[in-house]
């Protein structure tokens, strides 16, 4: 009857490409906003105003209007700024793009050029394994003589089953980029920054990984979607989120997350007063921009991971508790697997992610930098034993009381 058949494989392939574009697009869109809000928050916390010069005004909108109507906007109104300073990240990017590219004479050219790419690629890859929405189901249907077969599209770019394990493995490779950049610069400050970064990231990988394990053990799965579903179904919604079931693990993960991202209070690799700029001291122009981008994407990745593991991912609390749908956002708004349901879950995920991101920025402008020995003490003497103890208790609880959903 129909000439063409869209098999699940074909739909899945197209879906994967679209999802990849969506994730990368979202991540790259969040970065400028993140930079803008970081600068604004910094300014407001310090009684300043922050960037407020580069922006569109209402007068800019004139150019969208027909010529005859342009004078209808009064001059006073035309000067009103639309989100003051919102184009500052764009201006910065243009500035960086036009900067002269200086390669130090003593640099190891290969490693120097490889550094920014190696810092960004693992982060971009790891974003593939993040589950960011509820499963979309394309039903059996016929559109314009094309038969579409029923397909379930998981809302993560790659839905390999040990996705979370892959994510952790790949994101840890980011330290190679920093090490390459620091070593390849052929200068002492970047080298020291890179050494610090490597030591810090390797050290904090331990508590981070163990906190990760605790979450995985509580859920009993390595599949991102399964982790979210489990949180949504347990304890009737919000209380099933692992931040309530495993508060200590969530705290450890949060602290280790800051250290992994080299964010204040653990930004020793970039400590300006000591190391000029840390591992990216010798980088200019777009290479520096890529380092910067990788750093912010890593922040977004870690915030997404925290959201998935401890904040119930794309599930939204109150709705899960209804009798209509155990999993999806709107069991009673839309049918599970529907497009609206998926879109809403993506919005919920993004909102949670942005809130965690906001917490990162907020902490940054609150806490001073740790000393290096304090950093190592916190990682090895406090967080690691705590995480190990928590893991042991969780393991015992899981084996002895399999039906007890709190703290296990």
């Amino acid at each position: 009857m129909t000439e063409y058949v869209l098999t699940p494989e074909m739909i899945g392939f197209v879906g994967t490409v679209l999802k990849a574009l969506l994730v990368i697009g979202m991540a790259l869109q969040i970065v400028p906003g993140c930079i803008y809000f970081e600068r604004k928050i910094a300014a407001y916390v310090q009684h300043r105003l922050g960037p407020n010069r580069v922006n569109f005004t209402i007068g800019t909108l004139r150019y969208l209007m027909p010529e005859s109507m342009r004078d209808s906007i009064p001059e006073g109104l035309a000067r009103v700024k639309l989100i003051p300073g919102s184009l500052q990240p764009l201006a910065d990017a243009i500035k960086l793009a036009f900067k002269e590219e200086v390669i130090p004479e003593k640099a190891d050219k290969l490693l120097y050029n490889l550094g920014p790419a190696l810092a960004f690629i693992p982060v971009g890859t790891a974003l593939c394994f993040l589950p960011f929405g509820a499963t979309l189901v394309v039903p059996d249907m016929v559109i314009g003589g094309v038969e579409v077969q029923r397909t379930a599209i998981e809302m993560s770019v790659s839905n390999v089953v040990p996705g979370m394990l892959m994510l952790l493995a790949v994101s840890s490779l980011g330290v190679y980029g920093i090490a390459c950049g620091g070593w390849g610069s052929g200068s002492k400050y970047p080298l020291m920054g890179a050494i610090r970064a490597a030591a810090q990231m390797v050290s904090y990988e331990v508590p981070l990984g163990i906190a990760f394990l605790i979450a995985l053990a509580s859920v009993g799965s390595l599949d991102g979607q399964e982790i979210v579903r489990n949180q949504a179904e347990t304890n009737g919604g919000v209380l099933g989120w692992l931040i309530f079931r495993q508060p200590l693990a969530a705290l450890i993960f949060l602290v280790a997350m800051f250290a992994e991202n080299n964010r204040l209070p653990f930004d020793l690799p970039e400590a300006e007063p000591e190391l000029v700029g840390g591992y990216h001291t010798e980088y200019t122009g777009l290479k520096f921009a890529i380092f910067f981008l990788g750093e912010y994407c890593a922040m977004i990745l870690m915030c997404g991971l925290f959201t998935t593991l401890f904040l119930g991912g794309w599930s939204f609390g109150p709705f899960e508790a209804t009798q209509f749908g155990p999993v999806s956002l709107g069991g009673w708004i839309t049918p599970e697997g529907g497009i609206i349901n998926t879109l809403l879950s993506i919005v919920v995920f993004s909102t949670k992610l942005l809130l965690v991101l906001l917490l990162q920025l907020w902490i940054r402008w609150t806490l001073p930098r740790f000393r290096y020995d304090q950093l190592m003490d916190l990682g090895w003497k406090v967080l690691t034993p705590l995480a190990l103890g928590n893991l042991a208790i969780t393991a015992i609880l899981i084996t002895k009381f399999p039906n007890f959903t709190f703290f296990a």
Binding site: H47, R48, L49
Partner: protein, 185 residues
Amino acid sequence: MAGSHDHVEEALPPGKSFSDRVYLPAVMRGLKLTVQKFWGTVTDRHATVQYPEVGIYDASEAERAIGHPNPRYRGEHILVKDEQGREKCVACLLCMAACPALCIHIEPEPTPPEWGDRERRPKVFEIDMLRCIYCGYCEEACPCDAIRLTPKFYTPTTSRTERVYDKERLLENNPAAQVPQRPAK
């Protein structure tokens, strides 16, 4: 006062109590403080003056700003006028002598006979603002309160010769007029 002192003696030294060792209560206090500061900036006060558009002496902006420009700031000079609008200066050259940067140049001339109250006035009174170190010694040396330093500091020019202020410019050197007006588009 005494009560708080006793309290300090009873407590463990800073950093030794359990809550200090856990570190999280301090973090929470810090987060609360930064939110308060943030909200304070949103609702009420900030230190930024939108400078080229708004002058630092603009009253409405100064009320919002945390720091006011100090009226005793030593910026550019002004020659003070008397009640009849004449310069107070009697060309005694004391400021010229006191100036460590040798930036003041005065040529005296006799006053017109109808003035009556003084014998000399400056024919030429020039201050080289590029040489001036804004120390204020001229202000201290002046016996007639004829020269003062004002908080005016915004004085860009396009040439060096413009930085040598003559008598007319010094007499009209009004600090309130220092905000450059943007030409209307």
